[in-house]
Amino acid sequence: MDNMTLKENDGVKEGVDQETVDAVREVGGKYKYGWSTDIEMEYAPKGLTPDIVRLISEKNEEPEWMTEWRLAAYDRWLTKKEPDWAMVDYPEIDFQDQYYYARPKSMAEKPKSLDDVDPKLLDTYKKLGIPLKEQMILAGVEGAEDAPAEGRKVAVDAVFDSVSVGTTFQEELKKAGVIFCSISEAIREHPELVRKYLGSVVPVSDNFYATLNSAVFSDGSFVYVPPGVRCPMELSTYFRINAENTGQFERTLIIADKGSYVSYLEGCTAPQRDESQLHAAVVEIIIEEDAEVKYSTVQNWYPGDENGKGGIYNFVTKRADCRGDRAKVMWTQVETGSAVTWKYPSCILRGDDSQGEFYSIAIANNMQQADTGTKMVHLGKRTKSRIVSKGISAGKAQNTYRGLVSMHPKAKESRNYTQCDSLLIGSECGAHTVPYIEVKNNSSRVEHEATTSKVDDDQMFYCRSRGMDEEEAVALVVNGFCKDVLQALPMEFAMEAQALVAISLEGSVG
């Protein structure tokens, strides 16, 4: 959204309903991000071979150890089986019929400054709603750094297909000692950090898609927050799949050293295409003693059309490791897009008194299928976790919450609270809950609650009698249903998420 909307919204804080209504009107039923940018692309040949892995490594000017790491992952991948336990159903993926590397041609020579960035690319970010100031910086406008920032500052690392195109606010972050750059840059500039942490939370052989990602990831973001530093602004990555038949395999590595704090935002969109596209990302977060990381995602990949044609297959492995005592992590996700979602952001609560939180809204409409949830693995003493999951199914969609809460024998006096609510709109969709609960000591408390219901008739009647049409009323009721999670999002995202909730459900009633 642009700054105008932000300002307007500031004035109507109580008026959540009005915003929702506006959002519905504004967008008028189509996938907002369904355009594609006509930029000359450079592709590696289709298919996956050791040569492609070497090529990706070479294009990123990686050192030898990295190439070896990738090739080892590739070998492991060949021995792995695609997981089939999720409640999702999709045609077999031909992994040899994908492009594993694509980048805009203008990036073939790395831009010396942001002036060199293809204007069409910047235009893409504008349409994506990256705030004006960052666009100025991305475009290299002189003095942009000193321009008055409207609202809060957000540093952006944008990943376009496979290549990171520019990181804003580099200077200011550098002053604070924060490293925020693309992962390929980090591999070159900070090999000691990357070698130490890469693959330490999500091992190379963790699962089929993570192993694939380890072999072919082409870019992604890297964040290092030094001890005691509170990152001066929110960091943000926009992922966008543009080229046809490309898989996007970004890799994110976040390290919050002792006593530091960082909030990280991730937004994803993809153009509308008939063919399904593959997206297999890995996010690793390391949180040391007393550090805190907030990771928020608004995932709005193209979901396919009403008949299930096209759309993104989103197979993502995200995991945070609270290594130090009193480390804290919070995952917040709004999942409205993708044809198929397979995603379980997890927390390993290793340090004593560490905390993990997971807030999720998953909306599946039309033919979408979402199988998502979290894992809370309690290893340290007095660790705490909280799961709030809101699943909404409409049309012919299937929405599954799948989660694990595990209390190890040594995780004394730990605590978990889980709440999973599902809402069904229409009689052809499905909502499922598959929680695993493993409690291996008695001083811990685990509570799990789940409900499934439909949109309340009384609430609908109330809204309708105040002149809302059915669709507006549903959007309002659903926004209310999601309130607990929306409140956990940073301000900018909360606005966008609210609008998305309404948009995603269009056409689901009547």
């Binding site: 024998p409 709109i425 052809e428 598959v434 695993y436 008695n442 811990s444 789940a450 499934t452």
Partner: protein
């Protein structure tokens, strides 16, 4: 086919160790079930449905011997007027059993029902076969194929007293397999009681067909022999406006897997299943429930409570499946464990799978230690620590015991639970 090679699998080893009863109307069903066992194979450790429970002692050809335990209690249900049918290590004991004639019901033994026109012919193994999808239950199919005996109960009216299946365990190496079939006609009502350890290893299937407006009550107390093992399956199908209520209490036993498969096929039907278990030490108890709602305006309720200590393990896998069109479903599920020390564990997988929108389904699962505040409250009023723990344990189990409709039976179960707890803490 190379016979020798086939025998290497645990499934074939088990089949080779068993003798199928020959002849009679059940033969076709037995052969059919054997084919199912061969296709599915016996459960294995890596099976998702056996994630929390190791099946090996239930699937190996030879049972693990179990010592006979003399608990010295008066027989359960002694205060209730009932018709007793006694099995010792899976063998019918005519002397100890009552006369099988009772108004409103006809009772036969599977091993003795030879008439080719027997009513059970169309039911034997049928609900078990139905219950094999979407999840395989090979031990139940094995039972249909090899059960040596069982009771066939056709309820036509409302018998004056409950029917009680009494199981005794007298041989340390016994391996018993019984298969019971109950058919309730329209409007009929019966109470079935089961108690006792049955054998060192007991595999039992109970199939209950409940016609429209019929009512079935089931109260089961699994034997208290510490080393006994059991795999039980209960399959039921409910007609319009019918009622099914089943309660199981389990105290002790090295390994218990109780599966319950319920299908609500008639509108306005109601099914309640409940379990209370108290485990100490080498105790593994698994409740696995699968409820399918396939009709409008039905209600189902699952209430499971487990008290565990000294390294005992409690497992709950419960699933509510609401099929497309099963509107106005009311599904409730609660599984709770009380862990009395740090060694015990509770593993749960409470699942919902819902394809209809006008439903209200919920599940809850909790696990934790005894409430310190409640304990303190009681201690402050002069109640000893042991007594207070017992009181709170009983209160914890109460919600499950409440599911027994008949007051007399409910009180008897409560009485037993409190005396067992008392003895344990003294």
């Amino acid at each position: 086919m190379a016979e020798a090679k086939l025998q290497e699998t645990p499934t074939e080893a088990m089949i080779a160790s068993l003798d199928m009863p020959q002849g009679g109307w059940a033969q076709a069903a037995r052969e059919d079930a054997l084919a199912r066992v061969r296709t599915m194979g016996l459960p294995q450790r890596r099976d998702e449905y056996w994630k929390f429970t190791r099946p090996d002692t239930l699937t190996q050809a030879e049972p693990v011997p179990a010592a006979i335990f003399d608990h010295g209690d008066a027989p359960l249900f002694d205060d209730t007027e009932r018709l007793r049918i006694v099995f010792v290590d899976g063998v019918f004991d005519a002397e100890a059993s009552d006369d099988l004639s009772l108004e409103g019901v006809s009772i036969d033994r599977l091993a003795a029902a030879n008439s080719d026109l027997h009513w059970a012919r169309d039911l034997y193994g049928k609900l078990e076969k139905n219950g094999q999808t979407p999840v395989a239950r090979p031990l139940a199919a094995l039972n249909t194929a090899y059960a040596s005996d069982g009771v066939l109960i056709h309820v036509t009216g409302t018998p004056s007293k409950p029917i009680n299946l009494v199981y005794h365990h007298k041989s340390e190496t016994s391996d018993a397999m019984l298969h019971h079939v109950v058919k309730l006609d329209k409007g009929a009502e019966v109470t079935l009681l089961e108690n006792g350890p049955a054998a060192a290893r007991f595999n039992t299937v109970l199939e209950v067909e409940v016609a429209d407006t019929a009512r079935f009550h089931h109260v089961r107390a699994q034997g208290r022999d510490h080393e006994r093992r059991a795999a039980t399956h209960l399959f039921t199908r409910l007609g319009t406006e019918s009622l099914f209520k089943s309660f199981t209490v389990t105290v002790n036993g090295a390994m218990t897997r109780n599966e319950c498969v319920i299908e609500l096929t008639g509108d306005d039907a109601s099914a309640h299943v409940a379990g209370a278990c108290v485990g100490d030490g080498d105790f593994h108890h698994d409740d696995t429930v699968f409820i399918t709602h396939d009709a409008v305006n039905c209600e189902s309720r699952q209430v499971y409570k487990k008290v565990l200590r000294n390294g005992a393990t409690g497992v709950f896998q419960g699933k509510i499946l609401v099929k497309e069109g099963a509107q106005k479903t009311d599904g409730y599920q609660i599984s709770q464990s009380l862990l009395l020390d740090g060694d015990s564990q509770f593993l749960a997988k409470p699942e919902l799978e819902i394809y209809a929108d006008d439903v209200a389904c919920s599940h809850g699962s909790t696990s934790g230690a005894i409430d310190e505040e409640a304990l303190f409250y009681l201690r402050a009023r002069g109640v000893s620590h042991a007594e207070a723990t017992d009181l709170l344990t009983l209160a914890f189990l109460a919600e499950a015991v409440e599911e027994i409709e008949a007051e007399g039976l409910r009180e008897e179960i409560n009485g037993r639970l409190s005396s067992w707890l008392e003895r344990r803490s003294s």
